[in-house]
């Protein structure tokens, strides 16, 4: 079981309030991702849940029990750190066994669980090596192994993939997702990478300056961002946010349209502009269109085969049915 409830939790460092009163419930078995720009308080929030920082006021409940002043070791949570935080003087086996040793399990049980974790994570071949002899991805697996042997109520991940190279990151992303499917344990995952957030999460919590901007499934956030911040943060490339006369024409203060919802053609659309930089990804091409008469550069996502080049005059057709309308207060209009 692992249902975590935050009730009016706040955190201040001295006079600086980094987390204003915040309420959040994470359901048992849910994969929740905290996402936001750096300095938004997502890591602090995770550390508050872990118990590595004390909350200033409010209450944290784990499975209904008040855990506010319970030390981290007895909250039944396991954490995977960005730096892996392996014990450098211990072999892989001893690293994984450490939490079990601390829990004073008998040796046979420790061996059984360590072997189990090692085979799940393909660590068996280097179980007697020291962390210094492992690659980044292997170290990350050891850190995860150390977390799973405890059979915790919930896993906490603090940007676990940001030290890995891009290819490895994709692989580990899948592994963690698969692990979640298999264990069905609550996982809380902190990242600034919205691709990780979108692909892994059951539920995304978007944070800014300690405030929750929106909570929802990845597709909810993508389809119906609650405000301009979420609209700009979720989705890559970023949503085009247009204000001025064009927005007024659509009855709003700011008009949002995602790059993938604009069609680019030689002529015939309501907007037109000049192609600036094109980014070719192979499968897709991102065109940055200037001189559209709108107040910002419009980014368009087109098929990789669409062949316009720098300086070409093009015509743009936005899809009316997936436009996002925001009021002067930045909130989504119904």
């Amino acid at each position: 079981m692992g249902r975590i409830t935050l009730d009016k939790v706040t955190k201040s460092f001295g006079d600086v309030e980094v987390i204003p009163p915040l309420d959040l419930t994470i359901e048992d078995g849910e994969f929740t991702v905290f996402v936001g720009p750096s300095g938004c308080g997502k890591s602090t929030l995770l550390r508050l849940i872990a118990g590595l920082e004390d909350i200033t006021s409010g209450q944290i409940r784990i499975d209904g029990n008040d855990a506010t002043s319970v030390p981290p070791a007895r909250r039944g949570l396991a954490m995977v750190f960005q730096s892996y935080a392996l014990y450098p003087h211990m072999s892989v086996r001893k690293n994984i066994a450490f939490p079990l040793r601390m829990a004073k399990l008998d040796q046979a049980e420790i061996d059984r669980r360590v072997e189990g974790a090692a085979s799940v994570l393909n660590l068996a071949d280097y179980i007697d090596r020291k962390p210094g002899q492992l690659s980044g991805g292997q170290r990350q697996r050891v850190a995860i192994g150390r977390a799973i042997v405890r059979e915790p109520a919930a896993f906490l991940f603090d940007e676990p993939l940001s030290n890995l190279d891009a290819a490895l990151r994709v692989g580990m992303r899948l592994e963690i997702s698969e692990l979640h499917k298999r264990l069905e344990t609550t996982m809380i995952y902190v990242t600034h990478d919205q691709v990780e957030a979108m692909t892994m999460a059951d539920k995304i919590v978007v944070l800014r300056a300690g405030h929750i901007e929106q909570v929802g499934s990845p597709l909810e956030l993508y389809r119906t961002p609650r405000n301009l911040f979420v609209a700009g943060f979720i989705g890559s490339p970023r949503m085009n946010l247009i204000s001025g006369p064009e927005a007024e024409k659509h009855g709003c203060h700011t008009l949002g349209i995602r790059p993938e919802h604009i069609e680019v053609s030689a002529e015939g659309g309501p907007w037109s502009g000049v192609v600036g930089v094109s980014e070719h990804l192979g499968s897709d091409t991102f065109f940055h269109i200037h001189d559209t008469g709108l107040d910002e550069t419009i980014t368009v996502r087109a098929d990789g085969e669409v062949g316009f080049s720098h300086g070409d005059r093009v015509s743009l057709t936005p899809r009316e049915d997936v436009m996002h309308r925001f009021g002067a207060d930045g909130l989504r209009m119904a």
Binding site: P72, M79, F81, Q82, A85, R150
Partner: protein, 276 residues
């Protein structure tokens, strides 16, 4: 552009380094040489450097007149005992300063170091009286405590700098893994800090071994270490240079040998953290 070091320049640097090294080592070398001379040769003018009749006579006399082993044993107990006691007290102190610093941690560290700037003789009288009252004058236990206190600031400072190098996340991981404070220090922090602790131990054994002020003033016969052994050859007999040299050589030999074999560890320890 990388700085180029010419062969000529390298040779000059090497020569300068050797000259400075030999100058620093010369008094010790001279003491050792003198210990193998007769008393007459020891005060001969001009002094002979290597070409004299080597003799072990001084060592025989010194050995005959005083019980070297007893002084040596006292030195070992005092140096090792005070260092171990110091480490036991300093590890938790340095842990808390490095990992849960308060607003005043830096001040406390400086204050601790400032006690080293106080002339020792300034507190001799009160400490002497305390020793008399407690009946620990001329006892090894008393000296172990005093030398531990004298060196504690340095032990704490050294350990503090080593602990600062250890990433806090690893200790947090231990906490998440269910380690109590004791297990965290015992199984995670200490093994990781072994190189630092080792050089702290070595340096403090050397400092305690060489400490003369307190050992001379607080001991008489029972607890007297090798410093007192040397001192006993300097005063009453007048200028018996050769025997004094032999006694000195015997007193410094153990620590010199220890230092020689552990120099790699010492240098590494003292420059630890200087380059990341």
């Amino acid at each position: 552009m990388a700085r180029t070091v010419t062969a000529r320049r390298k040779a000059i640097n090497t020569a300068i380094a050797w000259t400075i090294g030999l100058l620093i080592f010369f008094p010790i070398l001279w003491t050792i040489l003198t210990s193998f001379k007769t008393e007459a040769e020891a005060i001969a003018s001009p002094p002979s450097f290597l070409f004299f009749d080597w003799t072990l006579e001084n060592y025989a006399v010194v050995q005959e007149r005083s019980n070297y082993m007893r002084f040596l044993w006292n030195s070992v107990i005092i140096a090792v005992g005070s260092t171990i006691l110091g480490i036991i007290i300093a590890v938790p102190a340095a842990w808390s300063m490095a990992f849960v610093p308060s607003k005043r941690t830096k001040d406390i560290l400086l204050w601790m170091l400032s006690t080293k700037m106080l002339p020792a003789v300034g507190v001799l009288y009160p400490i002497y009286l305390i020793f008399i009252r407690m009946g620990i004058l001329d006892s090894r236990a008393g000296l172990v405590v005093v030398l531990m206190l004298i060196n504690l600031p340095i032990i704490v400072w050294m350990l503090y700098t080593y602990f600062k190098e250890i990433p806090g996340e690893i200790l947090e991981a231990a906490r998440m893994d269910g380690a109590t404070l004791k297990s965290e220090i015992l199984y995670v922090l200490t093994p990781m800090a072994i190189p630092g602790i080792a050089s702290t131990v070595l340096l403090n054994i050397i400092l305690a071994w060489n400490e003369a002020f307190w050992t001379l003033n607080l001991t008489a016969a029972n607890a007297a270490p090798l410093t007192a052994f040397i001192a006993s050859y300097s005063s009453p007999e007048g200028l018996f240079y050769a025997k004094l040299s032999a006694a000195s050589t015997m007193a410094i030999a153990p620590i010199l040998i220890l230092g020689w074999f552990s120099q790699k560890q010492l240098v590494r320890g003292l420059t630890f953290g200087a380059v990341k």
